[in-house]
Symmetry: none
Subunit: 201 residues, 4 copies
């Protein structure tokens, strides 16, 4: 029986195992949807036993939460980087914000949909914690203080601008003839500038 399947447990650093499990889950979720993916498939993809999964996650839902956190963190990192590297001018910052968001979005729509829409009762409260919106609100506030624009309710306007961008990208993706990335960015930027009453560059 020397040819028998390699049964020896191969202990790995927890961090790695956890990531492998998450990768497996994400890949499967992306392909088949959250509900349609079973824990059995996840562990098969990750090449571990059923029980191992429950060593790292309390429930199946738990992985999705972890995936969401990981996604948001990645997104914010990109945003911070772009903003830090970019213009000091307020109007320019808005441009950067739009450009970065659209690009990041388009590069990971599926992933985004997965972690935000695939499960959970559309947890309305979640948006309150949306770090991306928080960042935009802060940006708007700072710009207002600097006199770049006037805003009655930064938080709310941030929400509206965020959802407008979100919606535009989604819609373009669903359209029979999607806009080009550049067109989309231009369009949204124009919308943002108007909504903030910034002089159209």
């Amino acid at each position: 029986m020397t040819g028998a399947a390699d049964k020896r447990p191969r202990t790995k650093p927890a961090e790695i195992r956890r990531d492998e499990l998450m990768d497996a889950a994400e890949s499967l979720f992306l392909r088949k949807g959250f509900a349609a993916t079973s824990v059995g498939e996840i562990v098969a993809e990750a090449d571990v036993a059923k029980g191992t999964f429950y060593l790292y996650f309390k429930t199946k839902d738990d992985v999705l939460d972890a995936l969401r956190t990981r996604f948001i963190e990645g997104f914010c990192e990109k945003l911070d980087l772009a903003l830090a590297a970019g213009d000091r001018d307020w109007s320019g910052r808005i441009d950067i914000w739009v450009r970065t968001c659209v690009n990041a979005w388009l590069d990971s729509v599926a992933r985004h949909d997965l972690v935000f829409h695939q499960h959970a009762p559309a947890d309305r409260a979640m948006k309150a914690d949306n770090l991306v919106i928080l960042r935009l609100a802060t940006l708007l506030e700072q710009g207002a203080q600097a006199g770049a624009w006037t805003i009655d309710h930064p938080r709310m306007v941030a929400v509206m601008l965020f959802d407008a961008l979100h919606g535009a990208v989604d819609d373009s993706l669903a359209a029979k003839t999607p806009l080009s990335r550049a067109q989309l960015i231009a369009l949204i930027t124009r919308f943002y500038r108007r909504a903030l009453a910034i002089d159209q560059g």
Copy 2:
């Protein structure tokens, strides 16, 4: 035992039975969520046998679709009514649109969330068929032709405005200290006017 089971089939007009089933389903879905509600519970609530459910709906998912259609139709009706009764002035029409949407929304958030977010693979394409957006796009276009505003891409702007409103309402609902209905309407109307470059009344 006055409650002895009444076995005789009580035929009802199909339309009524179907509505009763839908009402039962909606009520349950609202309370417990779509996935957490079983067909068994629905028929119990509607006081019919299990098989009867499948006389009117092909699958469990089918009811949700029916619910969505019913919801959209009701919404559009309200919108059309308000628009027909209201101002002839373009700017005023936008105001009406915003007011009607926010109100209708707030009056049926739960129902809205149910039919739009609770299930379905976040059907992105669905938005393409969103009648409400369609109506707004038309409104924008007509206003543009009438010279009330200028718009580069009516459809896209409609999408962005729609999602902005949608997001604002949602956010307010989730907030620890929600805005008043009037405040919300005022805020969004202001946003719309700016985005359309209408003179702030």
Copy 3:
């Protein structure tokens, strides 16, 4: 509402209705198998209401029984006709019997399988009533009395010959390279003659 579906009940002679129902059932059973065919499909095919079915048959199984009877009767008729028209010579009668059976069989395998194998716990006792075997047994007995052959147990030999033929035809049908009709008949006839110790013509 003049265009509404023609609701008027069109009473038909019972005999006809019953036949239509049987035809519909047979056609469906042949296409999809007995178990996989629902009463609902039968009545749809026969273009009557569910209840009408139960006016003519006590249960679903009942139709299959009726179908079987109809099949056997048809088969026996053919046999009787061929035998009556044919040879007076005993050996020739056996030939006719084989030829007629093989032909009739090949012309209606599907139907035969349906009524004999598709349902029922392989009702062993049914064979006792098999009219075809009965006829063969009688033929054998008469031939024996006439001195055409000697047989220890006509009934049993009839059974064996019958099943031998049956098996041969079935096997040929399942074979990758089926025998021709003529070959099959020749082969079986030879087998019969040997088994009855008739001089090979």
Copy 4:
């Protein structure tokens, strides 16, 4: 309450579990028929949870297949043993074949009917793979080569002989006054000898 539910999983070697499940299924199928037996009853009889069944069989049909395979293997074993132990004489071998088959058959009619007739669309093609027929055909061919008899089409004759035996045993079982085992064997053996034109011993 000594009978308090023992919840702890009692792991057993897969081979054993599988066999227990098969035994339970066979016993139930024999008693109530395949269709009338539910998976729930099987697992109850085998004293395992419902899910365990699906650990070993993909579907309910799957068990029946397994049962059939097990039956055929057992049958062939008996046949090989008897043939190996018996006569070297060709005519004697036929006798042994008949005797062994009849006996084995009578000892397990129910089981035989179960695995061959109870389900499946009377899978005609299955006979092509019938190992018992294959063995008989081989025997006939070897005998023919050895000059023990002449045969035009060994395969077909094997089929006919096999079905003749099969039919005879079935018929006897169904008869109001069944033949004795010895009578049956004698009768069939005589039939075989005639059909092969062997001198009646």
